[in-house]
Symmetry: D3
Subunit: 332 residues, 6 copies
């Protein structure tokens, strides 16, 4: 379908953007999903320095790369999470500040609003990200939450993201929220609940990444069909089940790549996702936005993987039927 | 094998023990796993009233019921959990006190030690229970814990449970820890980590409940073989996967019994557990303790289920081979 | 749940009703789904002879059998089918008449209306049956029908059944239409189309028989959930796939029982239907009508099968949970 | 094996042959299966105009395309089908005539004989096609046909196709009948019945298209082995099951491409056919005729698909072992 | 179908026949498959002592047990096997003699002929047994046998069993050869080869034991259909696959019952055999001989198992349909 | 990972080495696993002729081919096997001699020692091969071996291979024993037994060929993990299960390529091996030796296959992750 193939820059934050852009261009990518950590994109500089955005765009265009999505998963996570020491590594120092939970959450929310403003300056229509969750620790543990507790947790998310979504409305930007474990919405029905709670406001849509659904047993095809009009961005990442009787789906605290885990991430096409069905369904709903390769495969050299993945996505992304095509054999 | 078939009393805490005992006897159970909530067993009264334990034993023996395990899952949960409002419903008022997290944890630990003492008074050799976990919210969410954080969480459990296990040693009681989501050990490899951290002290063993392993993809047979000498108690509870493309294993915040969930509990024999294989493996390792029916099936009348489950377990529990049996056809 | 267990009399039309009733009572059935062929029930006599219905009821009550459903599948089939020589064997002589297609269809429709009137006289609230279809030959063949042709076929059904449903309304009877290959509605989506075309009039509901869905690949559980409020009657019949590479689902013109077929009918519990899931879903939607055993197993003696099936259904039909049951372990 | 790769022209009847030939040559096809509808090939002109055939051959040879099969599925369908309004769109006006069923059937049979004569003029040894069926509406519906009815339907086919096969014999042409739903033979055992009824006359063989077998549950490998000496032509078309609990194999009257269907067609390699096994079995039986791509994929642009399919078939069609090859490691 | 349910006595050769008969009668068996080892049946005494056979029959009839099959697997094995030290434990001393291979084979063949004579004296029409194989070590190893070597091995079997089968013919007895690994015929195609080599002589038929086919991947149903007229006796024994990634089908030299094996035997109904399909197929071919329980389950007490298995077989063995039954719903 | 891709020369012993080398170079191979039969490599000439080895190396280097493994499967087989007529075709005349079993075994052992010496002269560090087995005929047959018999068979292997392994030690060569049916070690647990019996001496490791494990039900990934430090060489060969109810895993004496077999060999990527998982596991254990294509596919032209397989392996063999790669998205 010739959708643009992007590379998610966040997996390469240890590289300077210049270096990454050079390689991404060589591999054949047509653009980046630019992430707000490392030196790739700094929100406050973008707002305060007049040339910052243009310089980034110039740098990328030298390698024939466009920017179509600006993402800030790390800071978004701190907006609704109960803050603990793990979050210090996720956010800029000026967001962490003194580390008091309420303060961090408040500054993180302001930084997300700033990210929306920066996106407008950069000429990008979609901000991607996480949101954090007050409810995460209650999922599948003991004791489970009462319906009342669930309702309050979702309302907390609505309350904290409403100003950010208002900024989206005012700046002509859409927020693509990544459905993902650890977030307020992590599977099909929890996504329904959150969309209901937001009363369907149009600024809020979904970043669809099938890898996070696959290992939970959720069919990515059903997910896309259910939220057809809300798919605002797509990640191409794969996952595989490695259940052998001893491993389990909750992962035993083991890091990615440990062969004792019950599931793991894979480069696109190296896992269990039925990409043929995913592409057909994206065609079916008329999604024509970008496909962003998020490369995270603990068993593969990432340069090798990024090169191969770009070719994989281009080969995969066939053209959908035009109305009437292929029916010449049948009576009309 | 004629292992004793018990009924886990905790699912019937809304009934007075007298009433439950009557029914359990009628259904054919040979004893109870007696739980320390409702009026079934009150730890402080057991320690302070001279006749309390004997009266309980008398009540049960009138219905031909023995007590073989004393369980205190609810209070155990508060020992290591970060305390929040959900815990108030789990523990007695004198444990909750002012509700300050450190105080609740401290008093919960003392109550577990008291439970061990009460078990000795009751003449019971096994205390069953949960333990809580400082790490639960880090499982499968974002951001994941570093190995250092995992290590500290497990050490926290060891630190808090050491006095309780010391009491076990002093009072001739063993602690059967239930491997379960929400606990420090919830699958095979996390159980390995916890047993390693405890340096194999003999007071600490496992309450094996296959239902919690099944939906995670962990094979109960592999679990029993791996921890053969540490199976101190067994729950007979079933679970079923209800994945249909839209439902997911993390459950979408939905209560048990909601058909949109990706898995659910079932009465024994009504789910996906391979009980034939479980019994053969318990035979293989020589487990000769009780089998306790924990009845939790959101689609079945619990009286109907308890009656049927008792028959199911008795039919299931066939005798293992005696050495040399069945080999008369082969050359010796 | 103690739903009444009936025997579908139509599979025994070669026996006099007296003889069948004797046996059905002995096997433990609580009633019959009485069919309007053989001597079991004659519609015109029921309308013209004052004592006919009472004599049938008396006969059955001598064997402790109730009548809860009156069925007329054979005549119903001729209402919308293009009539050919096969239909002569299905309908009474006075319906066949001269065999001209339009005349047979017209007289069959009148007979169905008469069946509704007879049901009222008999004191039965549900009439079961087939409906025939002008579209059947277009399903999966070549050339396929255009959407216009499909629409007209469904409208033909609505047109021909409207007087019959009007009679239902006037006589306080509901029509339970059996979703089945050969009928206008034969799977989930075709049932949706027909219900839509009837604008949801309440006299029209479904006779749910999972055996006809199973071999088509339709999940009976999804079907029951989708049409929860429209399940007016249930058949307990099983089916099995016997695909071995050479056999096929369209059956190769082979009669039931031929081992070369790709699927076949089975006595309840001897096929591939997940009855546990079916019963749980009937419980979930609150269906409290009868369960009628339709015995059709080409490999089993039918007396043996009827006896066993009655016990099977009684054992299967467990009581659903009462609100609040089984939750005593969880915080409230 | 370097079998010739053809494109089935019938799916492109909306294009002029000149235009199709240009594209087919560019994509790499080595010939066409030429269909007798659209302007691709007109049977009566071929018989009446002296240069017609040569001009077609010249046109195709300009694009390096050969003609190896001449197909007339649409007219063949009308030979045995009960004629209804759908057939008017399938046949030329002079075959339809006044539309009286017997007349249409008769003229369709004569046109098939003419097609055989035209094939000889064109220098082509195989005519492909459908045949229609008097029995189709009796497959899987209600009431089923008696064995007598089946026998008569098959004899009707034999009776009507005998003159056409006689023409084949006289003109040195073989008829490749496509086994397909809607035809007298649609799976393995019905094909056996038809071949038996024809007493094995050599002019009659099979057009093997695995897509029509796959969704019925028939294994294409078993089919090829069973009729090894009767495979006269091969279509390369794929199909996929899309069963999700709600969809069914009988398709709910839904058009191809509708995501609610239980199966659908796919471009080669994009469905569930095990092409590796198909090619190995064609090698095993020594089939050395052409492989014709019939492109029908409701989710793929047909130009994209035709281009890709040609490459797919060439890559797939590996060389079989030569006798003795690969055994040098083993003792002789 | 009320086929007689027998107990294979060979698995109880450590018990005196008197003791076994007492138990078998209590468990509900209707007869024994009497084995020629232990004290159950001694061939030479049966031939030389006038009352021997009658005394055995009297003993058994005191417990309401019939004898329907006489089996001598152990001696039969030595007829064609390359003799090694393992065989000494299988045969009586007078067959072993000096242990020279040719002598042992010769005396074993004579003992099998004597077994046939003894069967006639006992009034039993079927002798069951093994045959040994000169080819066994060539199956799946390296280097494989040439077709010439295979042919010679099968001819060796024919040559050595011809005198035994001649005796069968002369004494009115049939030989039921058990298809089993280690024998000349061990799966479907090797059984075809052996039957072909014997030119279909009627004295030679098969002892069908599905457990030996199941773990090899051979479907017992296909086997019964293929050799319908040659099933002379049936063993009811089960087997289970225990593949977990590490275990393998060749068993790693591990004894039965070792959990590291890739398959193992099971009591009937406790393994992977589809008994429903087996019984339906025995019904289909009209087998009306006995069903003999061979109890070999390394994880189950054999007394428990024998008791349960007798009930299992009786419940399983339902009556097949009578012609015409169950079709009353369909037009005739 | 850029491991060298070799071609196993033994499957091409009918070609002169010169001819094979030419082709192997053209296909893109980087070396050969050179086999000691045909004219590829003659052990006695290598030891007796001063220039023999250098000439072989020169010949190969003209085609840019290296030698990394020297293999002598055929002679190795005769060391422990009970010798029969099949072995004459496997070994040189001077090893066969008079064919007396003990003499053949003795001379085969000496030839294996000579092969080790020749490897040193050739500059090759790994000798590959089979070993034969005194126990093979006891695997899965009847009567099974006693544990004592198994123990003695394994000790026989240790005894006969000890001098050969001593030569390895003295000449700086490692022996890669191919785990394979027909050998003393053929699956995971039998390999454990043999390694234990050899007390872990370092000269003895494994030639891992997943095709021989796959059809036995052993997971190649588990095998590699279990013996991570003992994988001395790898064969890339595929296998497929072709079970259809009639075929079986023991193969019915049928030759490779016969469609009635239950499994068969396949060119790499054309069978059932999960190569993605195999490569990831070889990466995981740090195996950096060669990957040798052993081409044996009874349905594919071997030249076609060798060409395709070289490309397949190069594409498959992706680079593993470098420490730290791909983690830039996560907090450090």
């Amino acid at each position: 379908m010739a959708r643009p193939v992007l590379l998610f820059s966040g997996s390469w934050a240890d590289l300077a953007l210049e270096e990454l852009a050079q390689q991404a261009g060589d591999w054949g990518y047509q653009g980046l999903e630019l992430c707000c950590w490392g030196d790739h994109f700094e929100v406050q500089r973008a707002l305060s320095e007049p040339d910052y955005c243009q310089q980034k765009l110039d740098l990328l265009s030298r390698h024939d790369l466009a920017v179509m999505v600006l993402s800030n998963h790390r800071v978004g996570q701190a907006v609704c999470d109960p803050i603990d020491r793990r979050h210090q590594a996720l956010v800029p120092d000026y967001v962490w500040g003194d580390g008091s939970p309420a303060g961090v959450q408040q500054r993180a929310a302001e930084e997300m609003t700033a990210t929306v403003q920066a996106a407008e300056k950069l000429g990008v229509g979609v901000v991607g990200g996480f949101g954090g969750s007050a409810l995460w620790s209650y999922v599948v543990g003991y004791p489970g939450p009462t319906p009342q507790v669930v309702r309050e947790g979702i309302e907390d998310f609505v309350h904290k993201y409403t100003p950010i979504l208002d900024a989206c409305r005012d700046h002509g930007v859409r927020f693509a929220f990544e459905v993902h474990p650890g977030q307020i919405a992590f599977d099909l029905y929890s996504t329904e609940m959150v969309l209901d709670a937001l009363s369907g406001r149009e600024e809020f849509g979904l970043l669809f990444d099938p890898s996070h659904l696959h290992w939970q047993g959720v069919d990515p095809v059903e997910f896309v069909r259910r939220f057809a009009e809300r798919i605002y961005h797509v990640h191409v990442k794969d996952a595989t089940l490695t259940l052998n009787g001893r491993s389990g789906l909750l992962g035993s605290y083991l890091p990615y790549g440990d062969p004792r885990r019950g599931w793991d991430f894979r480069a696109p096409g190296h896992g269990g996702i039925d990409w043929e069905a995913v592409i057909r369904t994206l065609n079916e709903i008329g999604y024509d936005g970008p496909l962003a390769v998020e490369l995270k495969d603990p068993g593969m050299n990432r340069e090798y993987g990024a090169d191969e993945a770009c070719k994989f996505v281009k080969r995969l992304d066939f053209e959908p039927a035009r109305p009437g095509g292929g029916e010449a054999f049948r009576p009309s």
